[in-house]
């Protein structure tokens, strides 16, 4: 049996990464925030003070009060409750679309990098072409094609984010392919798929993890942008982007409507970015 990469180091690299990550206060704070946001999203029905879709014609665009901490929106719904429920749309958009991108991009990248030849050439040209078309245009076209809904927006963002993962995985695979342990595995006659999955993949996980956390940040913004254009979450269900969309025309009269969802996006994206940074440092083997 060939030696796997993990056995080449004295300490389990994951344990070492965790130890390093724990030292980074910013990243740990971000991790806590991310966990908290996920918890809020899951527990939204219990955390939110009101039904996020309950309209109240008597209390339209009311400034924040003790009853409504973040104020009410254009049809009298509680902004705080909507921000809380909106976390569901944004976080799931981030997680699902990146899962799609990883799920499609990594195998394709492995294939391109490992197989080389014309397979690589074809895949690489397609990736180049997709990257050359503006991200949002691609996403707008895709979600308009699929029909506006949150899940379709996720698919659109996921597909649009795939080329980055293909390119990254391919590059990493090319690098890993020539490493000793892969050569060794090949020498003892392991089948290709096994080498790709057992030996190459585990060693390219760290950069993928970093890219994924940053891509989640990007996907949250992309979902907000699509919802802002009306191509994401369908009313009356809230999403931070669609809340901003309707808040835009009340920016002078009801600034709280625009402030809180915008701040929520900022906060969530910041956390994923910080986490990504922390992971990058913690997983970087060159770092001490």
């Amino acid at each position: 049996m060939a030696t796997t990469a993990t056995e080449l180091h004295e300490e389990n690299p994951w344990a070492r990464a965790w130890r390093r990550l724990k030292r980074r206060k910013g990243a740990m704070a971000a991790l806590v925030v991310v966990v908290l946001l996920i918890a809020i999203a899951i527990l939204a029905p219990w955390v939110a003070p009101y039904d996020p879709t309950k309209t109240s014609f008597g209390a339209v665009r009311k400034a924040p009060t003790w009853a409504h901490w973040f104020g009410t929106d254009e049809v009298g719904r509680d902004v705080l409750s909507r921000v809380i429920f909106g976390a569901r749309a944004s976080l799931s958009a981030g997680l699902v679309s990146v899962s799609i991108a990883v799920g499609a991009g990594v195998p394709l990248g492995l294939l391109a990098g490992y197989a080389g030849g014309w397979v690589d050439a074809v895949l690489s040209r397609i990736v180049d072409a997709m990257l050359a078309i503006p991200f949002l245009i691609l996403a707008i076209a895709l979600s308009a094609f699929l029909g506006p809904s949150l899940s379709n927006a996720m698919i659109a963002i996921g597909v649009t984010a795939t080329p980055v993962f293909v390119r990254l995985t391919r590059g990493q695979t090319l690098g890993a392919k020539v490493e000793d342990y892969v050569e060794a595995a090949r020498a003892v006659g392991n089948p290709h798929w096994r080498i790709a999955l057992r030996h190459v993949l585990p060693n390219i996980v760290p950069p993928l993890l970093v890219q994924a956390s940053l891509a989640i940040a990007g996907a949250i913004i992309a979902e907000a942008a699509l919802s802002f254009l009306g191509l994401g979450q369908q009313p009356p269900a809230p999403s931070w982007g669609s809340m901003l969309n309707s808040a835009q025309r009340f920016i002078a009269q009801a600034p709280w409507m625009a402030f809180w969802p915008g701040f929520a996006i900022f906060f969530a994206v910041l956390s994923f970015n910080l986490l990504g940074d922390g992971l990058r440092d913690a997983l970087d083997p060159r770092h001490k």
Binding site: S124, R125, I126, D128, A129, M130, A132, I133, P134, L136, I137, L138, I140, A141, L142, A144, F145, G147, A217, I221, A224, A225, F228, L229, L244, Q248, I251, A252, P255, A258, G262, I265, F266, V269, L270, N273, L274, D277
Partner: protein, 313 residues
């Protein structure tokens, strides 16, 4: 070097062909009938049929593609259904606008990103470093369109210092031109500055650990000289190549930013045309911007290899 160049140049051709097929195919997938959206409130079936025939919408998609590509080959990007203007003319009209916005954004990004990157590398793990990092994260985490709305609210509505939107050509009135483009340029430049700052920082850190910098220090050179002359010069190469790519992205249109500030550039043109199903415009403009992007990409690659011959492989 020649072999590398030839190979990279040859790669461009299939890429551009795939881009052309992607944009053509993608918008054929879009729901909605261009003739119907063009007709707006008037939807007499006979008139619609005439329009479909006039713009070859009644032919099979591959045939339409061939017609389009034939035109492109002979330098004709087609005609806008909505405006009856040639797409080539539209591109020429919008290019200066987008170019100006992209350049200003780039200047802002450079002005903020590079100094911040240098400072945070030199003053590693001090308050300066953290402040610069925080700024970079802020820039990366603020949604463009939200920042745009807030800026308009603050500087145009509340303070009344800047025009809320629109665009004035440089040649017409440069002061007005700067006033109208400063906010959108800042919104675009801000995010880019964050990226630049991070790249500058890590490139600088790497350069400052390198032998020649240690030698320079050992020779007793002033620290500021070491940083600016030796480390910075070497750190800039990767940053500049990255810059070329970012500039390419800016050129391909700042979609939402142009929308919010009503800037008549590529981004707004593309989005409006997508929503109006003005196929020829979407195809033509995206083809042009994508090709620009691919060219800049190529230039960056070549520059990178020139500096780093090892990477030719």
């Amino acid at each position: 070097m020649l072999a590398f160049l030839t190979r990279r140049l040859l790669q461009i051709i299939p890429t551009i062909i795939i881009v052309s097929m992607l944009i053509f195919g993608l918008q054929q997938l879009l729901p909605g009938d261009p003739a119907l959206i063009m007709a707006g409130e008037e939807r007499d079936p006979q008139v619609l049929a005439e329009i479909r025939h006039q713009y070859r919408l009644d032919e099979p998609v591959p045939v339409q593609y061939v017609y389009w590509i034939k035109g492109v080959m002979s330098g004709n990007l087609g005609e806008s259904m909505r405006l009856k203007a040639s797409v080539g003319a539209l591109v020429r009209e919008k290019l200066p606008v987008t170019l100006q916005l992209a350049t200003m954004a780039l200047i802002i990004a450079l002005g903020i990103g590079i100094p911040a990157g240098i400072v945070s590398a030199v003053k590693k793990e001090t308050a300066w470093d953290y402040a610069a990092n925080l700024f970079a994260l802020w820039g990366l985490s603020t949604p463009n369109f939200w920042l745009g709305i807030l800026l308009i609210f603050l500087f145009s509505v509340t303070l009344g210092w800047l025009p809320a939107s629109g665009y004035v050509q440089m040649s017409e009135n440069w002061k007005q031109s700067l006033a109208t483009s400063i906010m959108p340029a800042f919104v675009l430049g801000n995010a880019l500055a964050a990226v630049l700052m991070r790249h500058t920082r890590s490139a600088m850190l790497q350069a400052m650990g390198a032998d020649y910098v240690r030698t320079a220090r050992a020779k007793g050179l002033e620290e500021s000289r070491v940083v600016l002359k030796h480390a910075l010069r070497n750190a800039m190469t990767p940053v500049i190549t990255l810059l070329a790519l970012d500039f390419g992205t800016l050129l391909s249109g700042a979609v939402l930013t142009e929308q919010i500030f009503s800037i008549p550039g590529f981004g707004k043109l593309i989005v409006d045309s997508v929503f109006n199903r003005d196929y020829a415009v979407v195809q033509g403009v995206v083809l042009v911007t994508s090709s620009l992007y691919i060219m800049l990409n190529l230039l960056a690659d070549i520059a990178y290899v020139l500096v780093n011959p090892r990477l030719r492989g």
